[in-house]
Symmetry: C2
Subunit: 221 residues, 2 copies
């Protein structure tokens, strides 16, 4: 489902040893859906700029969001330049003490486990009210349903004049996805026993998602 | 303590309304210390590159870390170019339903609260073993002490030959901090009652840090 072009790894790609490459579209979609506050990075005429924006994937090659009209990103980014939207999922420090094999050989060092999704694409901005209502409506529906279920807030709960003024203060955008590079760094280079024990340690710390991701392996969703 | 140059906001800066600008050096250091897995973004000859690297601040103007020698970032980034290390702290979706004032006027919309620190700086890499031991030692001491207290793993727990081979596989680096721009988006534009109630809702969801940050206000740490 997700547009993946992992075979053509760009020279300047995120460092990605083969064992940590995430190619499961379902897991990639899950990281985006569970950790929607993306870091959107772009190169401007005067240097790098990064903004933190909640995004949703509405199709395998399409991500949408909106920003304040006062955020000049919509003036700085051209529809022909590459941007990256970075979604960071679960992450945890991994102590060598947690590997049972360490007691035998002592040949372990600390590391950090994490799951990240880099969506590369091109951003186009929409200033018309219809597009803005559509974007806000889709984002709101997803986040409100997750948060409040049947009591979800809707745009129509607010006075029309108020919503009109709020919509005037934003710009909607789409990211046309050109490629997705994802990394699930989950100790896949360790023994099953080491992974199990690290996973148990993380669970006892409350790091539920990372613990489960490690137990399931990187591509079994 | 932290080098702050907020008065000179670069044109291409992160969108930062005044009420969300974080200027408390202690809070900035705390986000870096509690959420050390940074997203390090650089511009290369062929486009943007982003990597996820645990970092520690060893002085107000100095951040250190290390990467695998196979991560070609150390070849792509020159010591004269600007990079950004982005630390993302607590974050949470905020439903309009959680503002008591909504029941009166219905004039509220969803938002996202978050705390982020953008450290701008210049990266220099160290390939000598002494620098690498120093970097690994400092990172390990901090993360292991937090995780295991008195049972903290030390480099000297591992066989010397093994550590030597592991050190050969990494490159250490320092980031000389040129400026820090931080944002604490915590509903500061809402009434005290609205903030209190959102904070309670977040606490009941388990979002402890965001709940506490909101209650304390952005700069009372």
């Amino acid at each position: 489902m997700v547009a993946l072009f992992l075979l053509i790894l760009w020279k300047y790609e995120m460092y990605l040893p083969a064992e940590f490459a995430e190619t499961d579209p379902e897991l990639i979609r899950d990281v985006i859906a569970q950790f929607p506050l993306a870091t959107v990075v772009a190169q401007t005429a005067e240097g790098l700029t990064a903004n933190h924006i909640p995004l949703i994937m509405t199709a395998p090659d399409r991500i949408i969001g909106h920003i304040a009209i006062a955020n000049r990103l919509h003036e700085w980014v051209s529809p022909t330049q590459d941007i990256i939207a970075i979604f960071q999922g679960a992450q945890a420090y991994i102590s060598p003490n947690w590997y049972p094999s360490k007691a035998e050989s002592h040949s372990q060092v600390p590391t950090w486990n994490y799951e990240v999704v880099h969506v590369h694409g091109r951003m186009t901005f929409q200033h018309d009210e219809k597009s803005k209502i559509a974007a806000v409506g889709r984002l709101t529906k997803i986040f409100e349903t997750q948060t409040n279920g049947a009591d979800a807030w809707r745009m129509s709960d607010a006075p029309a004049d108020f919503m009109k003024s709020k919509l005037a203060g934003i710009v909607a955008f789409e990211i046309a996805v050109t490629r997705i590079v994802a990394k699930s760094k989950l100790n896949q280079n360790k023994s099953r026993q080491d992974i199990e024990n690290v996973s148990e340690n993380l669970l006892s710390q409350g790091a539920v998602r990372m613990s489960e991701r490690m137990k399931r392996g990187k591509s079994t969703g």
